[in-house]
């Protein structure tokens, strides 16, 4: 396994995670995209060393790179592309609605957290 690729995967993951945990939706999209890159590179790295393109007749089979992870990776690229586009559309809509692209806290969760500090409401066993 190539150390260079291994470190590239680690670096992409780290930067991706850092961006993903920000509050700006555009950075979250960037982070998501980088994590996608890390994953596809990890897939083909796990599949074996570099080689000739796996095209029958162009190279001896033993010199080829492993085609199976490549087929899987192709799917991964396409699906992560679809999800990234969807995220972008969501972010654009958020911007249209609120004027910026910041991820707000979930109000429902906030409310649940606030109940704890407020007066306790007894649960209603009869509601069952």
């Amino acid at each position: 396994m190539s150390t260079a690729l291994l470190l590239a995967i680690g670096g992409l993951t780290a930067v991706g995670l850092y961006l993903l945990t920000g509050r700006s939706l555009s950075r979250i999209v960037l982070g998501y995209s980088l994590l996608g890159h890390a994953t596809v590179v990890a897939l083909i790295t796990a599949g074996g060393p570099a080689g000739w393109p796996p095209i029958a007749g162009q190279a001896a089979p033993e010199d080829m790179s492993n085609p199976l992870p490549q087929a899987l990776t192709l799917t991964a690229i396409v699906i992560s592309f679809g999800l990234t586009l969807f995220l972008l559309a969501l972010a654009r809509r958020q911007r249209t609605l609120s004027g910026d692209d910041l991820v707000e806290d979930d109000l429902e969760d906030r409310r649940i957290a606030a109940v704890e500090s407020g007066p306790t409401e007894p649960e209603d066993p009869a509601a069952t």
């Binding site: 850092y18 999209v29 080689g51 029958a56």
Partner: protein, 750 residues
Amino acid sequence: MIFGLLVLHVAVCAVLACAGRRLGRSSLLVGAVPPALSALWGTARLGDGSAATADLTWVSGLDLAMTFRVDAFAGIMTLIVSGIGVLVFVYAFGYFGPGAARTGRFATTLLAFSTSMLGLVWADSVWTLFVFWELTSVTSFLLVGHKSTDTEVLVAARRALMVTAGGGLVLLAGLLLVTGAAGTTLISELAPVDGTAATVGAVLVMIAAATKSAQVPFHPWLPGAMVAPTPVSAYLHAATMVKAGVVLVAVAGPALSGIGAWKGCGLAFGAVSVLWGALGALRHRDAKLILAWGTISQLGMLITLFSVGTPTAVLAAVSLLVAHALFKGALFLIVGEIDVRAGTRHIDELGGLARSMPVTFAAATLAGLSMAGAPPLFGFVAKETAIKAALELDGPEAWIVGLGVIGGSVLTVAYTARFLVAVFGPGPETPLSARRHALSAPPAVLAVGGLAAFAALGPLDAVLGPAAVRLSGGAQVEHLHRWPGLEPALAVSAVVLVVGAIVGLAMGGRPGQAPADHAARWTDAAIDGTVALGRATVARVQHGSLPVYLVTMAAVATLAATPFLADISLDHLVGWHTPLQGVLAATVVGAAAALCFIGTRLGAGLALGAAGITVAALFVIHGAPDLALTQLLVEAAIVVGFVLAFGHLSRSFPMAGLRWRTVRIAVAGLGGAAVVIGLGAASGNPVGAPPLAELAAASVDEGGGSNIVNVILTDIRGLDTLGEVLVLATVALGVQALARAGAGREGSAS
């Protein structure tokens, strides 16, 4: 037959759930049909020496199966559960009166409980037992909370649920340990076990039994549950559900009685509850609470006797189990009748009932005498056998059991005498409403049952004997005697009756205050504490901030990689496959790192494109031209999309606080390291060379193409690729919808 009866119960339950509203009060009579059939089946089987079995395997490898086995003991329990069930359904018909609300719902829940209880006593697999055990807790909760508009009722129902459901969790842990040690999940196949795990498991099972059977210190839920309608109190909290713990101790006894801690725990719970329960029954002034505290005491006696586990003790316990179901069921129903007709059940407000309710008084006297253990009633036989069992023991056990059984018997006689005198004794006559036969007949049947059992002791002994043999692990068991002859136990009995009667009659008419129930307050405080802890935990972990959720998840996932640290081998690592790979790897990390520092969105989009194109170049030198082409196309589209979505927000990115940014950087760094560690460890375990030659040949011969990756995508897994196309199409629809919705809003706003 077993499954047939269970299915019938469930089916009638479903019918009542749907049609209960329309049937109203008569749904109680419909609900009595399945228990009646079960009781008939149980009666028909009484002489049968063999056990009826039924099972339905779910996951055979995990021993997950619905397994039922109706042996001699389960047969007796069937009669108690279903026989008393029928009487309680009939009684409830009278109890609720024509205009009562929600009787359909009540009948449904009561039948659901009856079904769960049958399943519990029939269960042979411990997991079947566990499921029905929990179902009885839930149905009990619903029945206790039947009058759900009252705060006191709600608190009581919650207490009953929390204590018994908490006990259920303890039971699950205990059963896991015990079955693990025993190597079987079938109760009938449990052999004596020992060892640390089995000991811990046995103690947990005993604790679970103590919660269900309301043993001190878990008892406060039972007096609290008296807020339920009386049919529920009589059925669940006297005759059946509270016996579930006793049944568990009984059936697990043969396997666990060799464990010292099991016996010690059982004796401690039992002896303390016998005395404390009886003292409570002597002090309370609500007739129903007197009976409830008496039940705690009687259950303590049952737990004590089953924990001792000697053949005589087990025989006494089985007899007492039957006797208790008869007399306590009858007494509860009688108190319910008084409550309905007199409008109160407080002993200070009742008077002259012996004259105004003669039939009820006769039934109460019969049941009371049986409870006190006086001849000629079945309670006498049970009590006599219990005293004999206590006198047979020696060592410290003899003292504890002796104190529990004999001391408990004295107190039982005392509170029985006090109960009868206080409820039926002289006093200003209480005005009564009209008599209802459905209310007075069932308790009379149960009370006479105690007399009949004494009269027909021979046949009854033939039924109880085999059950006792089964529960004492196959030991020789004596016969029950109507008249034991002049022996020490009889003398003790006589003393018990005389002393108890003097104490009870002396206390009977005395005015006083009901004791404050501190234990109930502590239990509620513990439950409130648990709820508050739950709330605080939710508030802490579910605070609504997406970044914090993500950081937490990443941190946890990172921890999962730690075990792989040991597996890292550097043998399979090379620096790079070609120097260019090293350069490109450095470039992609550099472009990614730049994303963290670039302040404008346009610049960020360009850096993202650079990273993507570098990844494409990495694909090229790896020998994956298809990937590279796809990556280039995708990347171009994403950069365009990014600029379209964000490009004109020229404001730079908002900055977070320094401390939070440090946490993010730390977690991100650790996350990256975790991935490197995981992949590095995986590279130490290569799965072997891929079958490249076969793939290449098959690609040409069968797929009709020389590009192997393409053949895999379009031929070997063509259906997956079709799905992928569908995903893309769906995304396109979603993106378009989102974009249009946003545009419309924008347009109308401007």
